[in-house]
């Protein structure tokens, strides 16, 4: 700690902090335009100038380090005079179009001029009236308003690791622009909008819609990935107008990705369900709530009578709150009397939980978003966390910048590989071999942590299973050179602190339970604590959903239910095993693999109830559709991948006649003559809490090896010569985000990423349409020729309902790697 005096007040600050940081940490305000705590000192704006006793010249506090015994004065007349002149200089050419600038009201320049006096200038130049660059879809660039603080440029390059913006030109005519003055093409995280002190970079979707002083700002939690970022939402007239991140607020500390910032508008989609509907003779007819609930109640009762409760299944949703998921499983278990309840987590987080239990005997795997910070080595396996969990990804990038070794084993180029210190370009789906190879080298060279490993059972048996993964064989399968494997192993072993990470979910198919188990084995050998494995739960409430007991094998808070119900594989991929299915907030036909198989199952049902916020693909097959309220229209909690439960406030009125899911379930139960004993969300919370006290207990930790062998996905052959890998795109999470108009401006259809060599081989051109044929079906997609993917592989996202990628895919039922062999033709 460093002790210094600011304005006569003794303050202390961390060593290496600047005077400005020291002052801000101690609530002493120094005006500044070009400082952001996430960035390196810049010293451009000269507003943060302070006087330091004993120094001749006033110094820029953002670029002067705090040292012991400094005496700093931040508001002397001399300093104030300097600030006034700097502001005068800035205002010489600033257009002063505040009445039509959307930043007015929350503009740093406005505030500073207001604070430091008259904006009148002695020099009247014609104001700069350059037209805004409106070409980009979401971000508008008005360079005439720019004061060249460079924060956007530096944040994009230093913090986001993208570098999409640059300062073009020199001196006075400098402008902030993408390279070569092209339209902005980037990740569209919109972080530049948040840091811009003026109206130079603006959110296009808010343009001229609301003046900042009319916006009522409320915090809520993002409904997309598992990070659980706090969004600060601005509302006018009962409508959400914008979302932004506030510095240091929430688990995201003010950082947001494009989904959180722009994607909230899916709740205003025209596709929203506004009233219950019943399929009458092949046509969906709008009905009253009473009619719909009575219909369900009658049909369900007769099915229970005829086939027993176990013929009814249910699928829960990671988009619904904890309270709703709790009610859902309670409805299934208590009202219907069936344990057949599962969710999309069985393709992702469920596998992690399983592996966690098998390897450590623990439950409730959670990550720490801050975990990457300060770790000596970070190993990411076949995952781009900057896409699946952007804010977690940012922390990984930050750790790398601060000196962590970032090793990424991945088949394709991603943002993570671009920022890695070592990119091990393995072949897709060979993560298990890669990990086994590392472990074999460790075993052979005696690099294992003996203190831990020798106390474990079956070490020799485990070693036996690694025998076949000789470096040469591993090298052959993964395509990684032997030396590289050895170097990675040594780096990993010799590091003092490590983190292993990957993402896993229904929208990715090159990883599976095996990959996670192999990673746990490596954790054992390294003697690391289980925390070193950081696998985030995929969606907003996947973690909570699992805790609430939306799973066939356990109830809320991991309590054993006695009978294991049918899991999602048995429910969806075994036609005629169920008579009725209740789907809450899930769209299996888009998100889950093997669409045709699911359709067969859905068609075989006597009763399909779909309860969702929008008319999904699955809903089109439903007998009854129930409209649910979206995330902003109800109260509840989301539990993020860290295991932190966060409140969702009710911000806007529900769309049409839609109701919160728990209310629908409560009403349905009552129609069926049962009482769920819940009247409001506090009742549910109380009930959940009481269960937690009873059952939620820490399990003793054990360490068990789970040997895994490499089982490849579908192997390409002459007929289907290409591997198809499923990967997320940055702008979407699940399929709900595809209903957002703003996100669709950036990414509105599934692009088939294909290497140039393959494209030439199959005669495919960039942006041309291709026919993709797998053993299960055919779809037409747009091709994107890209150098970032390896040849022999194509990469496709699943989000888009109309692209119907799930027609091509299959499932293994055991959480295995399910990459597809496909054939590609021009269309």
């Amino acid at each position: 700690m460093v002790q210094l005096t600011i304005n006569g007040k003794k303050v202390s600050t961390k060593k290496g902090n600047t005077i400005l940081e020291a002052a801000l940490d101690n609530n002493i305000k120094i005006p500044h335009l070009c400082h952001d705590k996430r960035l390196m000192p810049y010293g451009g704006c000269r507003l943060c100038i302070v006087e330091i006793e004993g120094r001749k010249k006033p110094e820029a506090s953002c670029a002067t380090f705090a040292t012991d015994g400094l005496s700093v004065w931040t508001d002397t007349p001399k300093v104030i005079k300097i600030r006034q002149t700097v502001l005068e200089l800035i205002l010489v050419h600033h257009p002063l179009d505040c009445p039509v600038c959307d930043k007015a009201g929350e503009c740093d320049i406005q505030d500073l001029v207001y604070q430091y006096g008259s904006p009148r200038t002695r020099f009247v130049a014609e104001k700069n009236h350059a037209l805004p660059d409106t070409r980009g879809p979401l971000v508008e660039l008005t360079s005439s308003r720019c004061v060249l603080c460079g924060k956007c440029v530096r944040l994009c390059a230093e913090h986001q690791g993208k570098g999409a913006l640059g300062l073009i030109g020199r001196g006075f005519p400098t402008v902030v622009q993408p390279a070569f003055g092209e339209a902005l093409e980037c990740d569209f995280c919109g972080q530049c909008i948040d840091v811009c002190p003026t109206g130079a970079l603006m959110n296009k979707s808010l343009k001229f819609k609301a003046r900042p002083w009319f916006l009522e700002e409320k915090d809520s939690i993002c409904s997309f990935c598992g990070c659980g970022c706090t969004l600060t939402l601005g509302l006018t007239d009962g409508k959400i107008q914008r979302s932004r991140g506030m510095q240091d607020r929430g688990v995201n500390r003010g950082n947001l990705c494009g989904r959180g910032r722009f994607g909230f508008d899916y709740i205003y989609s025209e596709n929203r369900l506004r009233s219950p509907m019943i399929n009458k003779g092949g046509e969906l007819v709008t009905v009253t709530w009473d009619e719909a609930l009575n219909y369900i109640s009658d049909r369900m009762k007769s099915i229970i009578n005829a086939h027993g409760p176990s013929s009814i299944g249910a699928i829960g949703s990671p988009r619904c709150t904890n309270e709703e998921n709790y009610c859902f499983q309670k409805f299934m278990r208590n009202v219907v009397g069936s344990n057949n309840i599962d969710s999309s987590a069985s393709f992702g987080y469920g596998l992690v939980e399983k592996a966690w239990h098998m390897a450590f005997g623990l439950s409730g795997h959670r990550i720490d978003l801050k975990y990457p910070t300060g770790k000596e080595v970070i190993l990411a396996i076949e995952s781009d966390l900057t896409v699946t969990h952007p804010v977690f990804g940012l922390n990984i990038l930050q750790a790398q910048r601060e000196g962590s070794e970032l090793i990424v084993a991945d088949s394709r180029e991603t943002k993570l590989t671009r920022h890695s210190t070592r990119w091990a370009r393995i072949k897709q789906g060979t993560g298990v071999v890669f990990l086994n190879g590392i472990m074999r080298i460790m075993m052979d060279r005696g690099l294992i942590d003996n203190q831990i490993v020798l106390h474990m059972k079956d070490v020799s048996a485990f070693e036996e299973t690694l025998k076949e993964y000789t470096p040469s064989k591993v090298s052959e399968i993964t395509g990684l050179s032997r030396d590289e494997l050895v170097t990675i192993t040594e780096t990993l072993v010799h590091a003092k602190t490590r983190m292993l990470t990957l993402s896993i979910g229904v929208s990715e198919n090159s990883k599976g339970l095996d990959t996670v188990l192999a990673a746990t084995n490596l954790i054992h050998l390294l003697g690391e604590s289980p925390d070193a494995l950081q696998i985030p739960a995929e969606y907003a409430n996947t973690f909570g959903l699992y805790q609430m007991g939306v799973r066939p094998d356990a109830g809320p808070a991991y309590q054993w239910t006695g009978v294991e119900g049918k899991n999602i594989f048995e429910m969806l991929y075994e036609p005629y095993s169920l008579k009725a299915l209740y789907i809450m907030g899930a769209d299996p036909l888009v998100n889950f693999p093997d669409k045709s198989e699911i359709i067969t199952t859905l068609k075989s049902l006597y009763l399909l109830i779909v309860q969702d916020i929008a008319l999904t693909e699955t809903a089109k097959f439903a007998h009854v559709i129930l409209p649910a309220s979206s995330w902003a229209e109800k109260e509840g909690t989301y539990t993020n991948a860290e295991g932190v439960s966060q409140m969702l406030p009710r911000l806007i009125e529900p769309a049409g006649q839609s109701l919160p899911d728990w209310k629908i379930l409560k009403n349905l139960a009552r129609t069926m003559g049962e009482d769920m004993a819940v009247h409001d969300t506090t009742d549910i919370v109380r009930e959940i809490d009481s269960l937690r006290v009873k059952y939620y207990d820490s399990f003793p930790m054990t360490r068990i090896f789970n040997p895994v062998h490499y089982v490849p996905g579908e192997e390409p052959d002459t007929e289907y010569p290409v591997n198809m890998v499923l990967r997320d795109v940055l702008q979407h999470a699940g399929s709900m985000s595809t209903r957002s108009k703003t996100l669709n401006l950036i990414s509105s259809e599934a692009l088939l990423e294909i290497n140039r060599t393959d494209a030439d081989r199959f005669g495919i051109s960039h942006n041309g349409y291709v026919k993709v044929i797998s053993r299960r079906g055919t779809v037409y997609l747009k091709a994107a020729v890209s150098d970032s993917v390896p040849d022999g592989n194509v990469y496709v996202p699943t989000h888009f309902p109309h692209s119907a990628v799930s027609t091509l895919t299959h499932q293994s039922g055991k959480g295995r790697i399910t990459t597809e062999a496909v054939r590609i033709e021009t269309a």
Binding site: H93, L96, P99, E126, T134, F208, K209, W213, F214
Partner: protein, 182 residues
């Protein structure tokens, strides 16, 4: 009781005095006006019905939709809805005043950086429904044509638009501007 008091009581002197005053006013010139038959000319700058200034050059409203009037309005009776035009300019879709809620403080006129809003001297308006007093942009522009025609409107702005926000006014008169190449 003294004699004089007694006399006063007997002859109703006080009442006669009072009647005298009444009689006096019968013949003196009248002070009140026979409104609505007789109408008074409003003083310049009187605060009456709202009007949006129609720009003489463009023929459209001068308002850019900055919303400062609405922000300033103590009775919150101004509602503005804007959107983006084809040339990326700001377009005022709706400018609405709930006249019945207005307290005629004219803070909106003061707040306006472009002198785009005035209070006319028209004060007599009545109707049977509240809806009639929900003035839309078109109605407010029509008010300008109707009540502020000729030099009247410009004189109002010259005399009663205070403080003048010089930096926002269209022309900076003091010195000729210099070109900026950026």
């Amino acid at each position: 009781m003294t004699a004089s008091e007694l006399i006063k009581k007997i002859f109703f002197l006080e009442i006669i005095k009072g009647l005298g005053l009444t009689v006096k006013h019968f013949v003196s010139p009248s002070i009140t006006r026979q409104y609505p038959i007789e109408k008074r000319e409003p003083v310049p700058g009187a605060r009456g019905l709202h009007a949006l200034v129609r720009d003489a050059e463009t023929g459209k409203e001068r308002c850019v939709g900055c919303g400062l009037c609405a922000a300033m309005c103590p009775s919150q009776c101004i509602h503005i809805y804007t959107s983006e035009g084809e040339e990326h300019q700001k377009i005022v879709d709706r400018y609405e005043v709930e006249v019945l809620r207005c307290v005629y403080c004219a803070l909106c006129v003061e707040a306006c950086p472009y002198a785009a809003l005035v209070l006319t001297d028209h004060f007599e308006y009545s109707g049977y429904t509240r809806e009639e007093f929900y003035y839309t942009k078109e109605m407010l522009l029509a008010n300008w044509d109707k009540y502020m025609s000729g030099d009247k409107g410009m004189n109002y702005i010259k005399n009663f638009w205070r403080p003048r926000s010089g930096d926002f006014a269209k022309k900076v008169e003091s010195e000729p501007a210099e070109k900026v190449e950026k």
